[in-house]
């Protein structure tokens, strides 16, 4: 068990080693524990009134022979149970909970009974189309569903030491290893929706069974090779499609199957699939040291982060295919920016940090986490965004222009396709894994989230107690506890949003100017128990502009303070937000409002507002312009939007010279 290959990679710190104690984040983690996970359990058991039917648990009971009935839901409905179990695993890893564990154990028993003798586990095919398994990898997510169950099995085993689900998922993976491959009776293919790749690396790292790593590599290497596996599969099947009575039409870019992964130059197609694929590629690259794969990861990272990412860390510019579109195309209103895609981007960033610690990965991880991910959930933990727009006019989303049909102006209760809520739950429940990593004798601190962390560097046991005032203020304090003095480095990320950073060690200035490596301030010294490091990051309100080729933001500015991107809402600024202008010289002031949306730092500015009583009713006028009158503008953090009823919202505001 455990890692069998030791390379010069940064190592993540596991959830067991970290105990988050943070004013900002404990709210969300407690919400996941107290509300989201119980609520989702009710939802997947079809016990939430008014929510869309799920069928996920009952599908397993039917497949297990414990209930009569028909399969209900999407072909990948099983993953709602898997993601719930994975989140439960993380919660239990943080804190055991007998009652919750018992519910999970019972679910696992049912899953065990639904597994077929050969290891196959998928309730859709078991109940509905037993003869058709593995015939439509393109559309039917069998390997994707298996991957989620594998992640659940690994998480639950790590948390509880119980092997039952781990054994189940090993049998799933063993079966897949028999079914897939280049042998004469094997399928030389891969899944339409990536996920199995990263799951198999987790399974390898947990079991030490190298077969799983090789299987993951196989899927990655096969992807996009010619002749097309998806086309050949479609031909074998008579070109049916799962979704209608029509014939299938395959757009290989949608599945990132247009080119071998190492030859892909830009992120294209379904955004979640892209980042899940990249996370799996980075995993395999980490374990195998394959430089060509690392290079592909870096190239696609750069494409996403420098050409296709919203300022909120959202990705996916178009609803059609829930997909990337093209470089610098970042519409704010017709955007997709699925919550799951930002979560996947965090998975990818987390893996890149293990490959090569560099603040550019952690900056994006933080951006996605503090903005899109927590915007995806309401403050009550019961309502969720699937799509995260940067500009909303409720009337318009409510049907006036069909290009906006996918955009919801308020969070929804539960989705028929419920990928996002459990994804938020499993990310937040495992947040501790994302804070630190180690490489050699260096401890990297990626995210400024308070709490205790224990680890060993070689024989040295180290405890770090981080206190953070972020995201509201720019300070973090680390207290080091050691059994005996030791030499190592503590590397603190200097975020891209900070204009100036300074460090005190035991109250004295520690000069970092020449100690910044790959975006981290290295404090490399001989430490004694009780040493205190104080990081101070200037956190000015920033006026952010987009690359000039982003048409949609031309002439517009967004405000950011620390990791938080801000927005204007109708609740504070009245309707027709397009009337607002922020002069370049306007003074911006931040103030904490304790009673607003759980307590937030608000930014106020003396702005301008179009008034066009003088303009008249003409649609076009020559040699005329609208008047501007003074108006007080209020910005709130983007994550907090849509918690005060239905109204307009915009991140980008017109700038005035």
């Amino acid at each position: 068990m455990g890692q069998t290959v030791s390379k010069d990679n940064a190592k993540p710190v596991s959830l067991k080693q970290v105990k988050i104690k943070d004013d900002f984040w404990n709210y969300y983690i407690n919400l996941v524990r107290d509300v989201v996970v119980p609520y989702q359990w009710d939802a997947i058991n079809d016990r939430v009134e008014g929510a869309e039917r799920s069928g996920a648990v009952s599908n397993f009971k039917i497949a297990a022979g414990l209930e009569k009935g028909d399969f209900y839901g999407f072909v990948f409905q099983d993953t709602d149970v898997a993601k719930w179990l994975e989140a439960v695993g993380y919660l239990l890893e943080m804190k055991r909970d007998e009652a919750l564990e018992q519910v999970a154990d019972e679910m696992i028993d049912i899953i065990g009974k639904a597994q077929q003798p050969d290891g196959y586990l998928n309730t859709f095919y078991t109940i509905k189309e037993p003869g058709n398994k593995w015939t439509n990898l393109t559309e039917c997510h069998e390997l994707y569903s298996a991957g989620h169950m594998i992640e659940a099995g690994v998480a639950y085993y790590k948390a509880t030491g119980k092997r039952k689900l781990l054994d189940i998922v090993c049998r799933i993976a063993d079966d897949i290893a028999v079914v897939f491959g280049d042998g004469p009776d094997q399928i030389a293919g891969y899944d339409g929706h990536q996920e199995i790749e990263l799951a198999l690396v987790k399974l390898y790292e947990t079991t030490g069974n190298r077969k799983y790593l090789e299987l993951s590599s196989y899927f990655i290497d096969k992807r996009g090779q010619q002749p097309s596996f998806f086309e050949a599969e479609a031909d074998r099947r008579g070109r049916t499609t799962h979704w209608s009575n029509n014939k299938i039409h395959i757009d290989p870019e949608y599945f990132q199957a247009h080119l071998p992964v190492r030859e892909q130059e830009a992120a294209v197609g379904h955004a979640v699939r892209v980042v899940y694929m990249l996370a799996g590629m980075a995993d395999v690259a980490r374990e195998t040291g394959d430089e060509t794969l690392i290079e592909a990861c870096r190239r696609l990272w750069d494409n996403i982060a420098s050409k296709q990412m919203y300022i909120t860390g959202g990705i996916g510019s178009m609803a059609h295919g829930e997909a990337f579109s093209f470089d610098y195309d970042l519409p704010n209103d017709t955007v997709y920016s699925e919550t799951c895609a930002s979560i996947g981007l965090i998975f990818f960033a987390h893996r890149m940090l293990q490959l090569e610690p560099n603040s550019r990965y952690a900056d994006v991880m933080e951006r996605a986490l503090f903005n899109t991910v927590i915007a995806g959930m309401s403050r009550d933990g019961r309502h969720f965004f699937y799509v995260n727009p940067l500009e909303v006019t409720p009337d318009v989303c409510d049907g006036k222009n069909k290009n906006y049909n996918h955009v919801k102006p308020v969070r929804q209760e539960w989705f028929g396709c419920a990928c996002c809520p459990p994804n938020i739950a499993r990310l937040l429940a495992s947040l501790g894994e994302y804070l630190y990593s180690t490489k050699g004798n260096t401890i990297y601190s990626h995210l400024y989230i308070g709490g205790e962390m224990e680890l060993a560097l070689g024989d040295t046991k180290i405890k770090l107690n981080q206190q953070s005032s972020m995201p509201w203020e720019g300070t973090a304090r680390y207290e080091v506890t050691l059994e005996q003095p030791a030499s190592f480095a503590l590397a603190l990320r200097i975020p891209d949003w900070s204009s100036h950073a300074s460090v005190l060690v035991n109250g004295e200035i520690y000069p970092i100017a020449n100690q910044i490596v790959d975006g981290y301030a290295r404090i490399d010294r001989h430490w004694t128990s009780g040493d205190v490091v104080e990081l101070s990051l200037e956190m000015p309100i920033q006026r952010v502009r987009s690359h000039p080729l982003v048409k949609q933001n031309a002439g517009k500015v967004a405000l950011q303070r620390g990791p938080l991107v801000y927005c204007v809402e109708e609740a504070d600024n009245g309707p027709q937000l397009e009337k607002l202008h922020l002069p370049q010289q306007a003074k911006l002031e931040a103030s904490y409002e304790e009673n607003l949306i759980g307590g937030i730092q608000v930014i106020k500015a003396e702005g301008l507002k179009l008034q066009f009583e003088q303009w008249g009713s003409q649609l076009y006028r020559s040699n005329a312009d609208a008047d501007l009158e003074p108006a007080s503008l209020t910005f709130i953090p983007y994550y907090a939007w849509a918690n005060r009823g239905k109204g307009e919202m915009a991140v980008w505001v017109k700038e005035r010279l």
Copy 2:
């Protein structure tokens, strides 16, 4: 025959009375005669290589029993033949042409044979579903198709005096009058696509048979009444849909059937249907004097012209439903702006001018004609735009963002759904009808297009010979020829684009300041043969801005000179047009380039161009802006775009203070 009701409406001047002699427009009219109409005849006979199959003529032959085969094309394929015949009618009304007339006569013979004994004429139902006629008015365009044939019958009769097609269409209309109505065995409904309404008024005005006017009124009055006719019809049919095997879902707004027409406050749904409906409503209102109908026409006119119309006279902001979206929503790139919709807007404007001469109608008519309509056709008369974008990036339309799939960066040869090319042909062939109208003792000159016009006001026969330098220069000269001196008024439109107008009568200043009524300068005097009126309109290059609520044009400016809206093209300005800025103080200079795209006035300006070598690769930067460097900008008339290969184009350009 002839008009039987005489009211105080303005009367149009017919095509026979006008002989266009105009440098700018004769090119287009000759193109229609020499290229478009012959080409379209080949196209609907399936003789154009590389173009999509039409089937339109052969459908008639099959229905007539003259050929074997199956119906091909859309359910409204017959209208391609009808619109072609209508265009032929207008060409013949301008100038008889035996060869062309013989081809048309032969086509009309075939049509006569395809007509059923009861008068019913529709090749789709006759060939394919004889038992299902009149069962899916919602989707299947039977009355729409009938309407187009009626327009053809009227035009062909007026041109040639031949009654055969007129008799055919009277029998069609007579049959419709039997089938539709509130009687026990009648259908109390209306068509999903308006067109029959305006056609029946033409038939009434030509035949004097008031039944046709009443039938038109009936369709207009029924529309949008509750309970829904479309829903009831769907229920009777088992809720099938013509377009797939699914069940029908009816969006009443798409068909303007959400409210009775008199209660509709804004233009919604399919744009062509809206303006065809409004043209029919204005026709009925003109003939009946129904004030409530006139009021509805005015209200919807105002909504379109002051809240939902592109600067090019295009309408329809969204591809989904080829439809209006909502007030001030005018995206330039995902726009629909169908050529047919602008043609329909011209039909509507033309009718409003007959109801009440007011330059606001003629201004829009001119805007749509000089910009969208002639942009819809290439200079060679063989390539057409269906969608008329105001901003194009070819890469993007070619599939990178699916929201742009409907936008083509170059004109296409022939469409499977070929509504636009024949619509351009019939409008341009009948252009003479749109130039003048009379009301009481006033002759209104709406469009400055040169040529001769003869009419009688009471007993006074008047000849007007207009010479126009427009659209390139702002002068028009009228020479009046009379048999004897007479008193009447000549009312010359002062266009919305002119900053100053002056009039000379026989070389002497005629003060018009107090003579402007509803946007027309009235020259009310006693005239003698040989009198000459010279109109001089200042035609400065205008910097046009949009109403501040048009988000898409905020901070942008468009250039217009006379009726022509300008654009920048990649051919002149290089790629990435979003880099261009036009400073508010930039000097603008127009110059005529004889050899460019048939001879056009080009506008040049010293502008600015973003250069972002300094910006770096970051997608977002705080406290940074891109640099601008001087760049010479070239604007060409919008109608002339896409005649020099595939490239970017934009009407709205960023402005710089």
